[in-house]
Amino acid sequence: MRIVLKREYNDYIKVFDRPIKWCWVALLLILLFFIPFFGGTYFLSLMTMAGFYTIIGLSLILLTGLAGQISLGHAAFYAVGAYSSCIFVSKLGLPFLLAMILSGGVACMVGLVVGIPSLRLKDLYLAIATMAMAFIIEDVITKWESLTGGTFGLSVPPASIGGFVFDTEPKYYYLVMVIVVITMMLAKNIQRSGYGRALAALRESEIASQAMGINVTYYKISIFGLSAFYAGIAGSLYAHYAGFITPENFTFLLSINFLILIIVGGLGSVVGAVLGGLYMSLIPEGVKIITQMLPGFLEGIIGLDLIFYALILLAFISYQPEGFHGLWLKMKFYWDHFPLYKKGTFRKERKFYRKKIK
């Protein structure tokens, strides 16, 4: 059993309780750096996709995991980011980096507007309101042909920073990884600051938050804005990666997939977003392998993969509502407390997350 002594107040604020963990992070970064050298192009593209999903995951973890607000409209923010970035670069001729941040800003504006119903609505009702917003935006994108190309889609020029064009797979991979690391650090900082604590308070009890002097309106709207900003950045990155976007890429199903992402990854922490992102990009491959192993008569049935996704989600909700991140914590706890581990240790946490998912 290991107890980390905390001697200074600063020890509570640090990201990691023991310095050795920084070595692990460094090791992981080195590993990420070398992936393009030995992973094939295909694997690399999966990792790049995992990067987009991670940013989305962070966006939802801040919104749902931390502040307790739900959104079924994240595909819309993603779409707004993608389209506006594309328009900024190809029609207005802005440099990519500026366009990316601006498109995050545009998504943020939309997010602020969507945040307004969250002041009055909760849980399911909020989910429905955000869903309605997603449909509206989807429609606007489809119908506003002069700007978005409607159902024909838009072709997006490749990203470039100061004349350096990110046209090959490894180049884009590095770009995405850098942005993922930055967004992750920012999200972690939010989580450990007073701002993040206030958001968590909002999730637990609004009335008590007010009595503590927390301005509920400000926090709710700003977290919606921030979450949409993240989603917009992810959308912009996706657009420049895909090279071509149509409204088909941003359907309602995608919003639901994003929710699945954070449930499977784990709602509680920034690491959950990464695990969820990896899950989202790797699971289609896993399902492919499984379907190949199935007997021949099942081959070619449409929607078989969807059944697998659903089964995995169900399994997570009923047996592991804390997601992959919770599983990791549990494993760690098991080894730390080896002979003392008992089955009921995580009962409370499980109950809490299950309630939250519902």
Partner: protein
Amino acid sequence: MQTNILEIKNVFISFGGLSALEDVSMDVKKGEIHALIGPNGAGKTTVFNCISRFYSPDRGDILFKGHSIMGYPAHKIANIGIGRTFQNIELFEQMTVIDNILLGYHLYARSNLFQSMLFIKKIREREIKIRRAAEDIIDFLDLQPYRVSLVGNIPYGVQKRVELARALAIRPEFILLDEPAAGLNKEETEDLYWYLLDIKEELKITILIIEHDMGFIMRLADNITVLNYGVIIARGKPEEIQDHPEVLTAYMGSEANAKG
């Protein structure tokens, strides 16, 4: 000379057709422990919610230190120095005791989004400062054994104390305690008595308290206001209240009723 820290002037409030408070006026003097008592449903918590600005009275005015608070939104009330606890504990359950207390310091650790995203030095220093202050409160209320436990996992009596700690963390001049002794055992109530006296004498905080435990209240309070069906029926020192005929009627029922 004692001045009034809180003045409630002719407050009326009704929900639908039910009038919850009718012409309620009361003064709380600076530095005293003032108790608000009355049978169930008398409107005691409604008074608290009016002061916290969760409810807006239909008529009347509430003055805090001589200024009307009717124009403030609910989250500004902590800002001007009024803390409170709730009848059914409203703690942040999935957070640790210390995090709950740190949230009480929210006013002193407010940071805008960009500052906290970058976690600039100022924020780190401020966090350390409020943690140090939170430890003082933990010492004051003897919460050391529970510092890092989740609030949901600690006993009820301690939760009540954590809520008190959180209310003290906003550094109030005036706190509203809604049944702090409800559900506590004898020993915990006795502890609470001494804590409250300490709060009054050491921290110089004025207390307005709702409580049903009469023995406790008679010992603790400097002044008592009695509320029944939204109307104030008596006010005065504990010994005056004890023998007040209308109070006895409100609590015990009248003799006529007893016979009938």
